[in-house]
Symmetry: C2
Subunit: 162 residues, 2 copies
DNA sequence: CCCTTATAGTACGGCGCCATACTAAAATCC
DNA sequence: GGATTTTAGTATGGCGCCGTACTATAAGGG
């Protein structure tokens, strides 16, 4: 059971006291935000004991299935962050001995990022564990309920809202 | 229509190729995360022209209905961040002339944060606009669909997942 | 072949967030 | 009433993220 965050509850109260329209869509929005940030927090908490953030875990995962490694800009694209952010994440992963930066033999602008042995082990262990955990979320919902929820989420976002 | 983030799509593909159980709950989880971060990004984008982050907006809003102001620790509690974070946000808001830090007349440890005139104007304008925007999200869903979605979200979170 | 443009990685500065640790002041407890 | 504990605000340092700007290299156009 997800509680709305205090700030959102306050916003909702104020809107309600002014009898503004769309109170229930606001509540819905805040419910989704609260659920997502609960998931994010739980995820971060699970990864912290391994010295990883969610982003670092994603990098390990992305590299896990690439024996030849990947250049930073490709990691940035696949992870959904900028190249500048990747630099910092790699600094940490390299410091912790999980990845190596190697020069590319043909394009001297590029680096090839690859997992170290320690990185491979950690990535392998965590993938299993993490996947099981994610799959365990929403286990209270049966298949039809999940299907309904998924469909509603698909329909939820208006095209022009961004 | 919300697309899964690349990183989540990759995770999903990998889980699928291994025929791991719970693929659809994973997809559901990633759908919610994608939707929430889309909302967060859109929100940030709407507030940026006013020189505000989402957190700063919340502070202005919280102070808007408190003519006597609030101390920082109370803002921290209501906004859902630590006192240390509030210090930084107030630094920015004070620099931009939106709030003032005043000493508390009875408890000399405390400060009283209050909106300036400019802060009141901005908070008033933005509250209307922002509320309308949030209420406009999910307008593609009719009332019964919103009700169903809300109920499913309520049921979604297992108690022991954190 | 040079000149321009695009790409790759990074440095730098800024924001938001936290944990930790510090100082001042209040509250509590003998 | 003096010592201890709690509370308030902040400083510091770290992480993750971004935009911007820089250097080196590659690719393309005349």
């Amino acid at each position: 059971m997800i509680e709305l965050e205090l700030k959102h509850a306050a916003l909702l109260r104020e809107a309600q006291s002014r009898a503004l329209p769309g109170i229930d869509t606001m509540r819905l929005c805040f419910q989704i935000l609260a659920l997502a940030s609960t998931i994010d927090r739980a995820c971060a908490q699970r990864l912290a004991p391994h010295g990883l953030s969610e982003s670092k875990f994603v990098l390990l995962f992305l590299l896990r299935s690439e024996p030849n490694g990947l250049p930073p800009h490709e990691l940035a694209h696949r992870a959904g962050v900028t190249r500048a952010t990747i630099t910092g994440l790699l600094d940490g992963l390299e410091r912790d001995g999980l990845v190596t930066r190697n020069p590319d033999s043909v394009d001297r602008r590029k680096l090839i990022i690859a997992l170290t042995e320690a990185g491979k082990v950690l990535a392998g262990d965590l993938f299993e564990e993490h996947t099981r955990w994610i799959a365990s979320l929403f286990q209270d919902l049966d298949a039809p309920a999940r299907q309904t929820l998924s469909t509603l989420l698909q329909r939820a976002w208006p095209e022009d809202a961004a």
